[in-house]
């Protein structure tokens, strides 16, 4: 049961802070008004940027604080697991700002970049609203509340908490769901990379070189100068930039033929790479590449924010396109509701974060009150990345946007046919302009380069060229591709390894020997199974005549949001069990909305009569045609017909399975809610309180009072504090 809750440090607001927050609110209100009223005129992207920043600031100052002190009852007199169980390894008291960086690096990836780019087909406004409102009331709430509850349970994982707090049935369903969803996420991320690198010798050249660069860094850290991470990262980044520049000369080096790879070949390459990378020792490849990708990630995000402010681009996108209302968009099928809300998963609400918030991060938190800046603040930062990506996709000419993002089956892959297709959508771009756009970034073609990465990279190169001087468009494009591919590959490595551990752990329950992570036959076979699963889904996506992104991205988005539903269900359950039913609406609002969206989307993907949306209708339409000996576009032969039939069956079954597993968890939880509600609370696995002896500030910036407290404490501790600044 909860102990006495700490009083919120709620000094009454001073006149000065009232004035400051009044001004922030005013900026936000003006930006939102401009966005709401502007139609068909030139709208600057900065309105979106500042609407977001002002909204985040207010949400963080007021809502997150309310959740921390009133709903959760964070208590800094209580020792965190990092303090109690300190072992210098996984349990380790970490400076809040450093942990914020670690946590952000772990949650941010390709998701918040890709989703908003695809959702831009419905206009910039739906995406903007969902990213900002979603993060404030759902995504950041989930991350923070899960982090808090896991911290109160010594860093237990999401699956463990569901099993112990909700029930065995729910626990098993959650475990299967987490594993299956991870496979889909890995497959879709890998698909984004394949689509970005296919037929792009420059891209393949630069990305391939990251492997020897990372191996060199690993060797350096292991044998030459152990532990000098900063130094080796600087060397690695320099080599990385050389690799990007070098890619511009593949033609001159006579490599362009050899490096122009088909999507199928790239898939094979990625699968082999994924297998090898996941069984190599982490110091060789994974750890050093993680340094590189983290550095690139932070670097590009900072550059993009600066670039946006300097160049202040005008949005080319409409506020709301017709596709939002009619559901006939070529990038992905379906109407604004529910599909915008599942296409933009990361950046607004991402279930995957619950796995990070319950695991590594909670074991490193120094003081309970810091869950606000780390959980809520970290997610706001990710949301900001999503907003930047949405802007980057919305400053591109709309004709070009649709030429890049429509599947090859409809654009025909040639400038002439693509221009014609774009015209049929109601936009204009000439074949010459399509060719010129590709030439400007030294790519063979931009037509049907789906997956979001090429679009984003093109948008980033436009923004950077306008902010930092023209002439480097091709370099910036490939720089952006590198940045995305790099951390997708890191996610694939790490994800495969996590999947392997999960699989070994699960099988180890029945066959203990298999659970031994150092037993090679087990680790190799488990890796092979995991890679085989996402590799199969990747192959399904790559070869799908209907377009892999078009077919798989909804599955990815829905599964991520379903994972969020499981996490939010756990949050609601725990509030009930802790006797805080009156606050259950805080994660409850997010859960209700998430369930409405995901269940509607799942229902449509499974049962819709429209073959563009419903997987099974798609299956039966193509099956009927095949039985009659007909071919349905875009299939060009019977084997493609067969492929569409198989793929839609696989996708449909998975979709139905994910939704069912989530419902099992929710139903199991509702039983607990009712029981806890009746008895005013139930015992939980929360670890009993122990007094804390640490002193550390709560927020990004320490108050004068906190600084004084830290100084006094450090003086009283003498030498024991260790090396602090």
């Amino acid at each position: 049961m909860s102990t006495t809750t700490q009083q919120s440090p709620s000094r009454r607001m001073t006149p000065k802070s009232m004035a400051v927050w009044g001004a922030v609110a005013l900026v936000g209100a003006v930006c939102w008004t401009v966005l709401a009223l502007s139609r068909g005129e030139e709208v600057s992207a900065l309105w979106i940027l500042f609407a977001a920043l002002a909204s985040y600031a207010i949400a963080y100052r007021f809502y997150a604080r309310f959740i921390a002190y009133r709903v959760l009852g964070v208590d800094d007199r209580r020792a965190t697991p990092a303090e109690r169980l300190h072992n210098g390894a996984d349990f380790d008291v970490t400076d809040r700002r450093v942990l914020f960086g670690h946590h952000f690096a772990a949650i941010a990836g390709a998701g918040p970049l890709v989703g908003p780019v695809l959702a831009a087909q419905m206009g910039y406004l739906p995406g903007t609203i969902w990213i900002i409102v979603g993060v404030i009331f759902a995504g950041a709430v989930q991350d923070m509340v899960v982090l808090f509850f896991s911290m109160r349970r010594d860093g237990k994982s999401l699956g463990q908490m569901v099993r112990e707090e909700i029930g065995v049935v729910g626990g098993i369903a959650a475990l299967i769901a987490v594993f299956a969803i991870m496979i889909i996420i890995l497959a879709v991320l890998a698909l984004v990379v394949v689509n970005a690198l296919a037929e792009s010798p420059w891209g393949v050249f630069s990305i391939s070189l990251t492997i020897p660069i990372a191996l060199f860094m690993g060797y350096y850290l292991r044998y030459l100068r152990p532990g000098r991470v900063m130094e080796v990262t600087a060397i690695g980044v320099a080599l990385l930039l050389l690799a990007i520049i070098g890619g511009g000369y593949v033609e001159e080096m006579g490599l362009s033929e050899a490096l122009t790879l088909s999507p199928e070949k790239l898939t094979l390459g990625l699968v082999l790479y994924g297998f090898v990378a996941s069984i190599l020792p982490v110091w060789m490849l994974l750890t050093p590449r993680d340094y590189l990708s983290t550095f690139m990630k932070i670097g590009v995000i900072v550059l993009l924010a600066i670039g946006l402010v300097i160049s202040a681009p005008v949005l080319e996108n409409q506020a709301v396109t017709d596709f939002a209302l009619e559901g006939t968009g070529p990038v992905f099928a379906g109407k604004l509701f529910p599909f915008v809300f599942i296409t933009i998963a990361c950046g607004a609400l991402s279930g995957f974060h619950a796995l990070i918030s319950s695991g590594t991060t909670p074991k490193m938190v120094a003081k309970e009150s810091q869950v606000r800046m780390i959980g809520y603040g970290g997610m706001l930062m990710e949301s900001f990345v999503a907003i930047s990506a949405l802007i980057a996709a919305s400053v591109i000419d709309q004709g070009l946007y649709f030429a890049i993002n429509s599947p090859a089956g409809v654009t025909g892959g040639e400038p002439g046919t693509a221009a014609e297709f774009v015209r049929s959508l109601g936009f204009t771009i000439s074949p010459a302009d399509l060719t010129a756009a590709a030439e400007s970034i030294q790519e063979e073609s931009l037509i049907s380069r789906t997956g979001g990465a090429p679009t984003l990279a093109f948008g980033i190169s436009l923004i950077f060229s306008s902010a930092f001087g023209s002439g480097l468009a091709a370099f910036w494009y490939h720089f952006a591709i590198m940045f995305e591919a790099l951390f997708i590959l890191t996610a694939v490595d790490a994800g495969t390894r996590v999947g392997r551990f999960m699989l070994q752990d699960t099988i180890g329950n029945f066959w203990p020997k298999y659970g031994d992570i150092s037993w090679k036959p087990a680790s190799w076979s488990a890796s092979a199974i995991v890679v085989g699963m996402w590799g199969y889904m990747l192959y399904v996506g790559v070869t799908d005549p209907l377009g892999g992104i078009n077919q798989l991205f909804p599955l990815f988005g829905i599964s991520n949001q379903l994972l969020a539903a499981i996490a939010l269900t756990l949050c609601v359950t725990l509030l009930f069990k802790h006797g805080k039913a009156k606050w259950a609406w805080v994660p409850g609002v997010a859960l209700a909305w998430d369930l409405i969206v995901t269940m509607t989307a799942s229902y449509q993907k499974v049962f819709s009569d429209d073959p563009k949306i419903g997987y099974f209708t798609q299956r039966s339409t193509y099956q009927a045609a095949l039985d009659n000996g007909e071919l349905l576009a875009p299939a060009t032969d019977t084997s493609q017909m067969q492929q569409i039939i198989t793929n839609s069956t696989v996708n449909g079954v998975l979709q139905a399975l994910f939704a069912l597993l989530t419902l099992v968890v929710v139903v199991n939880a509702v039983v607990i809610w009712v029981r806890a509600w009746r008895s005013g609370g139930l015992p939980t696995t929360e670890v009993p309180a122990e007094p804390s002896h640490l002193v550390a500030p709560s927020d990004f910036f320490a108050t004068a009072e906190e600084k004084r407290a830290v100084r006094e404490w450090e003086a009283s501790q003498g030498d024991l504090v260790g090396d602090r600044r």
Binding site: G88, H102, A106, G111, L221, G227, V282, S350, A494, R725
Partner: protein, 62 residues
Amino acid sequence: MRSTLARAGSGLRWYLKQATGEAKWDEYLDHCQRHGHEPMTRKEFERQRADRRENDPQSRCC
């Protein structure tokens, strides 16, 4: 008095050392000195940290 720039510089250096885990080695040396232990070599120390990472995979999100 240190200038603001120098303060920012040393703050950044401190942050990077902490974030990359390089500070762990300094903390360890400190610890050994306080308790009068003979410290192991940096190579051994870093190897131990790497081995721990081997069995504790960190998920990277999408």
